[in-house]
Subunit: 275 residues, 2 copies
């Protein structure tokens, strides 16, 4: 892959910062420019080597760029895409829902990406060049013109260590509602349900189960609201599971309960070790 002339990273947090570090490490661009909402964060990103320079001027960040990567929360990605009408640059994003974004990108040289490599520990401070190593990145091309852009963006992700899978935006959102959005909804709800006066008794189980409730509220509000119908379906399916186990406990149905738990355990054992 020929290096890009200038890559613009919009939003230099955990994902944007890690992408910048990986681009520099793998020499994938002559220049990496970061777009920031506030001046105060530019210095750290430059110091850590994630970008060559940063700016709070969107126009300046985009100028002469041949690859734009949007790494802000979904609602901000949508807003920025509406301002990108004139560029011919290759464009992707790292948003966690893809249908609304694909629609916004249909007149651009755009293919959506979703690197499954986030963390509840956001910010440039947690960024690292190997964040995507052996991770999975889902690409969600939409429309007929995107074959070339898809190949180019897939190659980019592979260069920084990710395996890529191609899905429609709709399929992506239906799947992620279960594998990512529902776990977050459950973790936030669980934390909301535990009485505040007994938190000091929390052991490993509660902590693991709710680690992702430390995630960024605005980021996840965007995700749930841009994948509303799928999220509702996933919650409904989960409510049914919960009803089942509640019924088994209420009836003191030990064989039924053990069978329910064993099936869940088997399914959990089948999760990929690293994805």
């Amino acid at each position: 892959m020929k290096p890009f002339k200038k890559i613009t990273i919009v939003g230099v947090g955990l994902l944007g910062g890690s992408i910048g570090l990986a681009i520099k490490k793998n020499k994938l661009a002559h220049q990496v420019v970061g777009y920031f909402r506030t001046e105060s964060k530019i210095a750290l990103a430059v110091k850590k080597g994630a970008i060559d320079k940063g700016t709070v001027c969107f126009e300046e960040a985009l100028k002469d760029s041949d690859f734009i990567i949007l790494c802000s929360p979904v609602s901000d990605i949508l807003k920025k895409m509406s301002q990108l009408t004139k560029t011919k640059a290759l464009i992707t994003d790292t948003g966690s829902t893809k249908t609304a974004i694909a629609k916004a990108g249909q007149h651009l040289n755009f293919v959506g990406s979703h690197p499954l490599a986030g963390s509840e520990q956001g910010g440039m401070i947690s960024a690292r060049a190997d964040l995507f190593k052996n991770s999975l990145c889902l690409l969600t091309p939409s429309g007929k013109k995107s074959a070339h852009a898809t190949a180019h963006i897939a190659e980019f992700w592979r260069r920084i260590g990710a395996k890529t899978i191609i899905l429609t935006p709709e399929k992506h959102d239906a799947i992620l509602a279960f594998t990512s959005h529902l776990p977050h909804i459950v973790a936030f709800s669980l934390m909301a349900a535990v009485p505040a006066n007994i938190l000091s008794f929390a052991a490993g189980g509660l902590k693991d189960t709710t680690r992702i409730a430390m995630s960024h509220p605005k980021l996840w509000s965007d995700i749930f609201l841009t994948n509303k119908n799928n999220a509702m379906d996933a919650i409904t399916a989960f409510e049914l599971s919960l009803k089942k186990i509640k019924k088994l406990i209420r009836a003191s149905n030990e064989p039924g309960l053990i069978s329910f738990l064993a099936k869940a355990k088997n399914k959990r054992a089948g999760l990929p070790q690293k994805s």
Copy 2:
């Protein structure tokens, strides 16, 4: 604390094995004997140094013992306690529910313990002498005669690194229903709800949230069924949380949703770092 003459560990898995290793390391007994259901597991426990010897004969394991620690699943602890009527030894257990066990122990020199140091990775193979270091151990005396036994058992746990807190068995079970049993119920239910054909898309969030769904089905069936009413109450409280977030998503109520998520995040941030 004077060393015990002979400590008997009934059930030498993760907890029993770690207790054995910690007893030996801290020289808290002249002899440590393990009771096993099957011969095959004795050799490993002896080899790892968790016990001096093992036996499949319950009578032999108890003979001349002055401290008996029951470390099997709750239903087995209850069964074993019904066979302990003649002993004057100090007795404790490591079961995760305490009301039924306290009732079974009311005519014995018994005080229940619940070390908050388990893991979904069971077995002697995962045992380690420092498992209880800086962990919390809940003691649940019941009745008036137990002050001496409570002090003695508390001292034992402190010697192997745990901080101790004293609670009634009923209070213990009401609290743990939320801080431990509910997270397990939620993790098992979440795993049950995720369609099997999309498990390969699971990333960190689903994995963390369901790690404890790898726990032992029989062990947890015992826990849920011996704490049925509290578990039902906790599920009901959680269902209400879930309904709230579902309603906020359905209504696309962004400020309400962000506020719900932020409150949950704040609560999560207040969990003890190590307990």
